[in-house]
């Protein structure tokens, strides 16, 4: 086990409208979170993996009619900090005495800890709710929503694979949850 130090500081701003047919809120956070271990990153402080310099969230809801309402959500966050290889080298050298071909393996050498930022995370969701029935004994409503309406590919992680054909290395990004429409029926009795 190793022990180190963590620091976190920032500023939060929040604005909310509660009354009227259109209401909602806007929130913004600026923050910085670091870690420092003598055994890691040559003892230098580095960004915590989930450090998020800018965090913006917007929620708007609108009462269209007595039965219909709509809402809009937008979130934005600075991408996660991650450690990527910055170079590679050949090691464990050998020579095939019959063919004369050299044999070795390639090893990735990693850069400074969490020195690379993944692309920013942002998405917008839209939702409409229809109140179908509302009585003392039974309530039901329908919700039609689209998660990630502009189909943003928000990165989950990045990895690399060698491409033998082009003799280079290619980067791939894995992301979760593309555009997701959904229909939901809620009821209470």
């Amino acid at each position: 086990m190793i022990f180190g130090e963590g620091k976190s500081y920032g500023l939060e701003l929040f604005l909310r409208k509660k009354t009227g047919r259109l209401n909602g809120w806007v929130g913004y956070t600026w923050s910085k979170t670091t870690r420092q271990f003598d055994e890691l990153n040559n003892g230098k402080a580095y960004f915590y993996r989930y450090d998020r310099t800018h965090d913006i969230s917007v929620l708007l809801s609108y009462e269209i009619t007595k039965k219909w309402s709509g809402s809009f959500v937008f979130v934005y966050g600075t991408g996660n900090a991650t450690t990527l290889p910055d170079s590679r080298y050949a090691y464990r050298y050998g020579i095939d005495p019959i063919s004369g071909e050299p044999k070795f393996v390639f090893v990735d050498k990693y850069g400074a800890v969490n020195s690379f930022r993944l692309p920013a995370y942002h998405r917008a969701d839209v939702s409409f709710t229809y109140i179908a029935k509302q009585s003392k004994k039974f309530e039901s409503s329908w919700n039609f929503s689209v998660y990630n309406i502009y189909n943003r590919a928000n990165p989950y992680f990045i990895y690399f694979l060698p491409d033998i054909e082009s003799q280079t290395v290619k980067a791939f990004m894995v992301y979760l949850f593309p555009i997701l429409p959904s229909v939901q029926w809620n009821f209470k009795f």
């Binding site: 450690t83 990527l84 290889p85 910055d86 170079s87 590679r88 080298y89 050949a90 090691y91 464990r92 050298y93 050998g94 020579i95 095939d96 005495p97 004369g100 050299p102 044999k103 070795f104 393996v105 390639f106 090893v107 990735d108 050498k109 990693y110 850069g111 800890v113 690379f116 189909n151 590919a153 992680f157 990045i158 990895y159 690399f160 694979l161 082009s166 003799q167 280079t168 290395v169 290619k170 980067a171 791939f172 990004m173 894995v174 992301y175 979760l176 593309p178 555009i179 997701l180």
Partner: protein, 284 residues
């Protein structure tokens, strides 16, 4: 009814194509990295083909070149030392130079056919590059172990069937570290450790001061000849090769940042003294 079925399949196909699109190739601009020297130095008391120093440079990560990036023209010296009390004295008289004699064919490989390692002696590695940079490293050649017994089991006269073997030796009370390399084939030598087929690195944290078996559960085939190189190495050298194993097997979607624990000052890599015990299994 057929129209409804057709629309259902169409909708399903669209939904699947959207929901399964969760990976794509991207372009990344990585900042230019500092080129670092990589040192792979090996000495031992048994096999002349395993006394060498390989010098190379790190490569840009997306560089299409797959060459070694060899470093030629360096001055490489290995000096044998004598332990006097708690100090080790490296005498200039014991300094031997290694040369890249096959530079035209195998650049970056420094050898001296007259060098022979001695058990229980310490060694100093000194490298001076053309640009004036200096790198040093220290190691020693531990006493090789004695293999007490060897065993193998297989189905007699059954070609293409699996063949297993194991051997054991006594692990002493002191802290010991081992590296085993297996090479299939009739040639009982390794032209560089990288010519081996299978590599194992371990210490005696789990089994100490008792007979220690090495069981080859990943089988060879009936009829194979397997050369075994069982080496004792130092603690710093073990830490390097243990971290190297993690680094070399790291990659793909589940890669994690792994750093090797170098035992050379001023470069990445290792200077390892091997106390080698060699044996051979003919699995038939």
């Amino acid at each position: 009814m057929n129209k409804i079925k057709k629309y259902n399949w169409t909708l399903l196909a669209i939904a699947l194509s959207i929901l399964t699109s969760c990976e794509k190739e991207i372009k990344i601009d990585l900042p230019a990295s500092k080129i670092e020297l990589v040192v792979e130095a090996s000495i031992n008391q048994l096999s002349p083909t395993l006394n060498y120093v390989v010098l190379s440079n790190t490569l840009d990560y997306f560089n299409p070149s797959l060459d070694l990036a060899a470093v030629s023209g360096a001055k490489v010296y290995i000096t044998q030392g004598n332990v006097i009390g708690k100090d080790t004295l490296f005498e200039p008289n014991n300094r031997i130079r290694f040369y890249d004699i096959a530079n035209a064919v195998y650049p970056g490989i420094y050898v001296n056919p007259l060098f022979t390692g001695v058990v229980d002696k310490a060694y100093l590695l000194e490298i001076e590059l053309v640009d004036g940079r200096k790198v040093t490293g220290k190691t020693y050649i531990p006493k090789p172990v004695t293999i007490d017994s060897t065993h193998y089991w297989l189905k007699p006269n059954q070609k293409d069937t699996n063949a297993y073997f194991y051997f054991d030796w006594f692990d002493g009370p002191e802290q010991n570290n081992y590296r085993i390399v297996l090479k299939k084939g009739f040639l009982p030598l390794l032209t560089g450790w990288g010519y081996g087929d299978r590599f194992y690195t371990f210490d005696d944290a789990q089994i100490n001061n008792q007979t220690r078996p090495f069981i080859m559960l990943n089988p060879f085939k009936y009829g194979d000849t397997v050369n075994v190189y069982l080496s004792q190495i130092g603690r710093q050298e073990y830490l390097f090769w243990d971290s190297f194993r993690n680094a070399a097997n790291n990659g793909g979607p589940f890669a994690t940042p792994v750093s090797v624990s170098s035992n050379v000052d001023g470069a990445i890599g290792s200077f390892t003294g091997y106390g080698i015990t060699q044996t051979r299994f003919i699995l038939r």
